[in-house]
């Protein structure tokens, strides 16, 4: 018998040891489950100087990502692979590359939940802390660190976080530490379980640490910068029957940064919402004040990345292409806003309601600057290195940022025909919202008709006619769209947007599209021209450049 040597028999040893391991690994995988999703967007670009679509040297650009989540009992782990080869037009070029951008593991043990790695979290309405993603906008400020959730008794949820924030393929320089506590009174106290009055309150704190750095005030002086900046928020929600009232107040310590022009003023925000609703009627009014609340985990950062907090815009997010031409974005340095909305369904079998009922939606919103007064006669408002200004908390500033009055009527005529009519009246302060001083404020009226006709039970034709009129900016637009759908698999569409009334070249922004949906997969192809504009989802907006060419979107969940 030959002598047993490790080298000679290494394969056998390896085999004996590894084979059962492989099977065990498979065991573990079998008792858990793997899920995920995938999305790919790619565009082949053609040059079109008439719309300002430039030549793209790569010819084709692509964004793609895949999420893979593995769950086994109380344990979950996941990752997201992203690939930008190279980033599509309108996405920040710093995304260029491929790699694992998000990975985490979570363990859930009765009252505790512990996450290590990346996570998204929001405290209250997010005014001092919210990390989230909008993949289609290229926005992601995910945390990389530790999160612990603790649920000591029914109705109490405590959270604590530590970490840094994603900055493209890196993380920002600021370290965030924070916690949140929420108390649902009716769940905490058994005798209140079924009480018609429900009360929830909570509070949160976030502290940002960023080492001091040399930022010059002028040639000889530099700023004295706080290394730790704390922010606090408290919230309350009370509901009883048809009435619901909620409010949140946030305070941020002085935090001189590039966005607020390095002023040392504190920040404040207040959000107040009241609603009344019953079957067939919903009414809501909200108001907010935001004062110097730009909060990022890097002092010198401007733009969309590294936001620690989220300041919701109190305006309706329009879904039609022409009503979405002029979207509003919250002004973190200061704004006063109000919004009111009524949703009413005229009952069936009445004169106005007809056989199927008629739905009416009214919405009004307005945002102004806050009131600002100079500190003294010799200091300009918002002068760098000073306290900035003083402000009357309840007073609206003179400058109007945005106003939107819109009405939408939805009506089903018969079993085949239904449609909606909308009118939108907008005032859009382009200079402030887009940050281009000198541009005129846009006053626009938009009319939209949306009609769907069912040919058979599963085949339908949908048409949209839209018109926007304004004397400013690019003047008038008209848009038409026809879509043919065969449920649940297919759709085909053709649309054209045409710009008129301006002195420039008259351009048709035509688009041909089709889509195929099979269970959780969807493939969408389109060819045509896309006008330059602003795309906003959630809290952030992205400048979308003019583009011409062939586009494909592939998405799938598994």
């Amino acid at each position: 018998m030959t002598k047993f040597t490790f080298a000679k028999h290494s394969f056998i040893i390896f085999f004996i040891c590894v084979f059962p391991l492989l099977l065990t690994a498979q065991n573990v995988l079998n008792s858990g489950s793997i899920q995920g999703n995938f999305q790919l967007d790619a565009q082949y670009y053609q040059k079109d100087s008439s719309i300002g679509a430039n030549d793209v040297s790569e010819k084709m650009l692509m964004n793609a990502f895949a999420n893979i989540i593995y769950t086994n009992g109380n344990f979950t782990t996941g990752l997201r692979y992203e690939s930008y080869r190279n980033p599509m037009l309108g996405f920040d070029n710093r995304y260029k590359g491929s790699g694992i951008a998000y990975r985490y593991a979570t363990y859930n043990a009765d009252q505790f939940e512990i996450t290590v790695g990346n996570f998204y979290e929001q405290f209250g309405s997010g005014m001092i802390f919210r990390t989230y993603e909008e993949r289609n906008l290229g926005y992601d400020n995910a945390m990389d660190g530790i999160r612990v959730k603790f649920n000591p008794i029914q109705g109490i949820m405590l959270k604590a976080i530590v970490g840094t924030q994603r900055f493209f393929w890196d993380v920002g320089p600021g370290i965030l530490r924070g916690g949140d506590a929420e108390f649902v009174l009716n769940d905490m106290i058994t005798s209140l379980n079924e009480n018609p009055t429900r009360i929830t309150f909570g509070g949160s704190v976030i502290s940002k640490y960023q080492p001091t750095e040399e930022i010059l005030y002028d040639a000889s002086k530099k700023y004295v910068l706080p290394e730790n900046v704390a922010a606090f928020a408290g919230r309350l929600n009370v509901s009883r029957g048809k009435i619901n009232v909620s409010t949140e107040y946030a305070y941020k310590a002085n935090d001189p940064n590039a966005q607020n022009n390095f002023i040392y003023r504190h920040g404040e925000a207040l959000l107040l919402t009241a609603s009344y609703s019953q079957k067939g009627l919903g009414v809501i009014v909200s108001a907010k004040r935001i004062d110097n609340m730009a909060f990022k985990s890097k002092r010198t950062e401007v733009g969309n990345m590294l936001n620690i907090n989220y300041l919701p815009a109190l305006t309706k997010q329009h879904a039609y292409s022409l009503s979405a031409i002029y979207p509003y974005a919250t002004q973190p340095n200061g704004e006063m806003g109000v919004q009111a909305e009524v949703v009413y369904t005229v009952p069936k079998n009445t004169v106005l309601g007809g056989k199927y009922g008629t739905e009416i939606k009214l919405n009004y919103s307005r945002a102004n600057d806050i009131d600002r007064k100079a500190l003294n006669d010799t200091t300009a408002i918002n002068e760098k290195g000073t306290q900035g200004y003083t402000s009357n908390f309840f007073k609206f500033g003179k400058e109007l940022y945005f106003q939107d009055f819109n009405i939408e009527i939805l009506k089903k005529i018969n079993s085949r025909l239904k449609g909606s009519l909308s009118w939108v009246n907008l005032v859009y302060n382009q200079a402030v919202i887009e940050g281009h001083p000198g541009l005129p404020t846009v006053y626009a009226n938009i009319l939209i008709a949306d009609i769907t006709y069912k040919l058979t039970a599963t085949k339908a034709i949908k048409t949209e006619l839209q018109h926007l009129s304004t004397k400013q900016d690019d003047k008038n637009w008209v848009m038409g769209m026809v879509e043919y759908s065969i449920a649940p698999l297919w759709f085909f569409s053709v649309s054209d947007q045409y710009n008129y009334g301006n002195s420039g070249e008259k351009i048709h922004y035509y688009n041909l599209g089709m889509g195929y949906n099979k269970s959780s997969s969807r493939i969408q192809l389109s060819y045509g021209k896309q006008r330059e504009g602003i795309l906003c989802v959630g809290g952030v907006c992205r400048q979308v450049p003019a583009a011409y060419g062939f586009n494909i979107t592939l998405t799938s969940s598994f």
Binding site: F19, L23, N30, Q35, G36, Q39, N67, I69, T71, Y120, Q122, G126, M127, Y132, E133, M157, V184, R198, T200, S239, N244, S275, Y276, S277, Q278, K279, G280, L281, G282, V283, I284, Y310, A313, L314, Q317, H318, A319, E341, V343, T345, G357, E359, T452, K454, T458, K459, A460, S485, A487, P488, F491, G515, N517, S519, S520, R522, G538, G539, T555, S557
Partner: protein, 176 residues
């Protein structure tokens, strides 16, 4: 020969151990804590309907086709419920900007669904939802047996047909 025997028995033993393990589990709802429109805390893993199927529809106020889907089903929802006992859970992914408008909109529309608010997208991510509308169908055991993205007129007919099949005990999951 002896070696071969050893190897073979070793393999067989390993496979026997492997064979004892359970079959792959069916996909169930992940456990995510979110709130409903009345402010009640809900663990999504506990969504159930007394052994009857559940439809879960992800939507938002800014999504027209989503609202079309919910309004279309709302017209026949009462009939669907009477016939099949199905329940629809509408998960709004509106964030703090518009989540407070969800309750008045749902009531103003006369929608009788259970409505959840996924304000930071935690449930959406756990369910791998990319685009909305994204609709899931759960059988009476709470297993995810079907899903579909987008809504076109008539899509609701396929959905209720699947619910009927589930009630008859048919397996509707797509075979791999």
């Amino acid at each position: 020969m002896k070696k071969l025997f050893l190897v073979t028995s070793y393999l067989l033993l390993s496979v026997a151990v492997f064979a004892q393990t359970e079959a792959p589990k069916a996909k169930k709802l992940p456990s995510v804590t979110i709130k409903d429109i009345n402010g009640k805390t809900i663990n999504t893993a506990e969504i159930s309907n007394n052994g009857k199927p559940v439809i879960i529809s992800f939507w938002a106020l800014w999504c027209k086709p989503c609202q079309k889907e919910l309004s279309t089903i709302a017209e026949v929802y009462e009939e669907w419920q009477k016939e099949t006992g199905v329940k629809l859970v509408a998960v709004s992914i509106d964030d703090a900007r518009s989540s407070s408008r969800v309750l008045p909109t749902v009531n103003g529309n006369n929608w009788n669904y259970q409505v959840l608010l996924d304000v930071n997208g935690d449930f959406k991510r756990a369910m791998n939802v990319n685009m909305i509308p994204h609709t899931f169908l759960l059988n009476g055991k709470g297993e995810i047996v079907w899903q579909h993205t987008s809504f076109a007129e008539g899509s609701e007919l396929e959905l209720i047909e699947l619910v009927r099949k589930l009630n008859k005990g048919e397996d509707i999951s797509v075979k791999k």
